[in-house]
């Protein structure tokens, strides 16, 4: 199965990274979360209700809608926070990308571990810019807001292509498709990872891989 991959690029100021990432990730997860499943006998299930709430950004002229789930928000903030810290400590260039991957688990027989098969991958490439004065910052607030509006429209367009989605699982298989750990909503299984690009334009992971390969080749 091919994994659907979408790439979005944004240029933001340092203090806007967190809000911009959260806006995009929350918009994707809004579309990829359902209410909690409640299985009943004879193979029927009912679905809980997903609430939504508006979020205003402080450093960007922008507002977005997220799922009303504090657990989900905390999880995303934690991941975005780590990405932001890594960007800050990486060096002067401030380039990196954060990825949100939706996957299904496929049970394997012993001794093999379960396979994680991605079916959708969202990558947000971030370029952090440094601004000289307040006037530039004000322009940046508006420009980034407009750019994020375009990104939301892009995301919605992809979502409404109605391409592959995992089949609705039986009760025994629900944990292979959905993240059932949250108490109020049920997103598809997802993981967030990030890469920081060093000043040479190569990602750190690529460099590490090359080093290891070179070492082993000796």
């Amino acid at each position: 199965m091919n994994c659907r991959a979408e790439v979005l690029e944004v240029s933001v100021e340092g203090r806007q990274v967190e809000e911009a990432m959260l806006a995009v990730l929350h918009t994707v997860l809004l579309h990829r979360s359902t209410g909690k499943f409640h299985y009943k006998k004879e193979g029927t299930y009912s679905i809980g209700t997903v609430g939504t709430q508006d979020v205003d950004c402080d450093f960007i002229d922008f507002a977005y809608v997220r799922v009303s789930s504090e657990e989900l928000d905390r999880a995303l903030r934690k991941a975005v926070g780590e990405f932001k810290d890594a960007l800050r400590s990486s060096g002067s260039d401030g380039m990196g990308q954060i990825s949100l991957e939706f996957y299904q688990k496929k049970k394997s027989r012993w001794p093999f571990s379960d396979e994680c098969i991605p079916w959708e991958l969202w990558t947000i490439k971030v370029n952090v810019v440094n601004l000289a004065n307040e006037q530039e910052r004000q322009i940046c607030r508006e420009k980034v807001g407009e750019k994020l509006c375009e990104k939301i429209i892009n995301i919605v367009e992809v979502m409404n292509r109605h391409e592959y989605l995992p089949k609705m699982p039986t009760q025994s298989e629900v944990d292979n498709v959905f993240d059932t750990s949250l108490k109020d909503v049920q997103p598809y299984l997802y993981k967030i990872s990030y890469q920081i690009t060093d000043s040479l334009g190569t990602s750190v992971t690529t460099t590490m891989r090359r080093l290891i390969k070179d070492t082993l080749a000796l």
């Binding site: 918009t27 809004l30 579309h31 359902t34 209410g35 909690k36 409640h38 009943k40 006998k41 004879e42 193979g43 029927t44 299930y45 009912s46 679905i47 809980g48 209700t49 997903v50 609430g51 939504t52 709430q53 508006d54 205003d56 002229d61 507002a63 977005y64 809608v65 799922v67 009303s68 789930s69 994020l148 509006c149 939301i152 429209i153 995301i155 919605v156 367009e157 979502m159 409404n160 109605h162 089949k167 609705m168 699982p169 039986t170 009760q171 025994s172 298989e173 108490k183 109020d184 909503v185």
Partner: protein, 490 residues
Amino acid sequence: MDTDLSSQDRKDLDKFIKFFALKTVQVIVQARLGEKICTRSSSSPTGSDWFNLAIKDIPEVTHEAKKALAGQLPAVGRSMCVEISLKTSEGDSMELEIWCLEMNEKCDKEIKVSYTVYNRLSLLLKSLLAITRVTPAYRLSRKQGHEYVILYRIYFGEVQLSGLGEGFQTVRVGTVGTPVGTITLSCAYRINLAFMSTRQFERTPPIMGIIIDHFVDRPYPSSSPMHPCNYRAGEDNGAVYPSVEDSQEVCTTSFSTSPPSQLSSSRLSYQPAALGVGSADMGYPVLFAGGLNAAHPHQLLGPGKEGGVPPVPSQPAHGTQADQERMCTPLDGVHYSAATPSSSEDTETVSNSSEGKSGSPHDLLETIFIRKVGAFVNKPINQVNPPDSPETESPLQGSLHSEGSSGSSTGNTHDDFVMIDFKPAFSKDDILPMDLGTFYREFQNPPQLSSLSIDIGAQSMAEDLDSLPEKLAVHEKNVKEFDAFVETLQ
């Protein structure tokens, strides 16, 4: 076209489309109220959350939407449109957006109504929630208040885009294919807000006869009046709308799934028509229980049906209340759509005008034109509520150009503008009044401080040098004091 669709599927589909249309209107209008919206997730399903989304139903909005639909559903050539416009305190108005729910002829016969269509409609509503926050009107609506308000109007029929000005842009929210056609939801929005930028910040009085009126005679006059997207809780508007409970049909959804191993067997868990289950496709037929019988909205399907019907609870009478209780934002003080009556009961809004006049819509609009030179009239919000007059009457245009209407505060038809003494801030009484620009220019170039001028600086330096030996002598005398002070610091 319908022969392939079972009657139950057809009924379900019609119901889904109807409630999708109603929820679409709710999402759009609520997004233009000017407030942040917050609804809670609930792990247990309730009977009133269509499409598994917590979207509150504002009764007035539902009433207007149902009135516009008049029992019909969006179909080819018959679209449901929500028009969002802006109206200033001066009475000028401008269309900002038209949201269209349309149906085209492209059918998807294979799609499962009670499962796939339902879930895709839910996804489309989520997309609508996201898109309503990214069009320019959202930011305008968040700032509405004394200077302008946002209005909505629902109509059914042909889409009218002429009021959006030139170069409007369109964004497609999404599409859902059904066996009877493809549902499309899109938004056309104005990008030329030049009217706003020039008129909003001008402090000069409007010149009679040259007012740019964006409100033109509509080529297809519709009978649906405009409604403001704000509402004062507790305001007596003289009309009671049937709450959505009266006619709300229960949405109790229960889905069925079967393990993949049973895929090969056919017609899994097929329930008779009343339960609306399609044939096994991916092996996940859906069955609904309760409330899908259009004739008896609150009737739960009895246990006499074939087995497998889960006893899903439905709370039709409590649906709206449950929604309200779950609202994060309390109703008090939150602006919701005004319950402005649809016909001639506009005296409540008009009576709030400062002149205390009641009567025709023309009166209210005439009073809005009475403004003080040099400043906006700071009218309370309820004065700006537009009167509910039929669109065919074109009240704004009528009042702009009418001369014989009796609406001014003094009752004199010629005194449309009241001149008052102009006393802006920073002006001095004894000389000619200074405008803000002059004040700004004057104080931008203040005289230089005397101590910073070179001559005086040099003079004081010379004096300092001369007095230096005396000062040194004094300090030497007090050496012991200084030393003691330094020791206290260590």
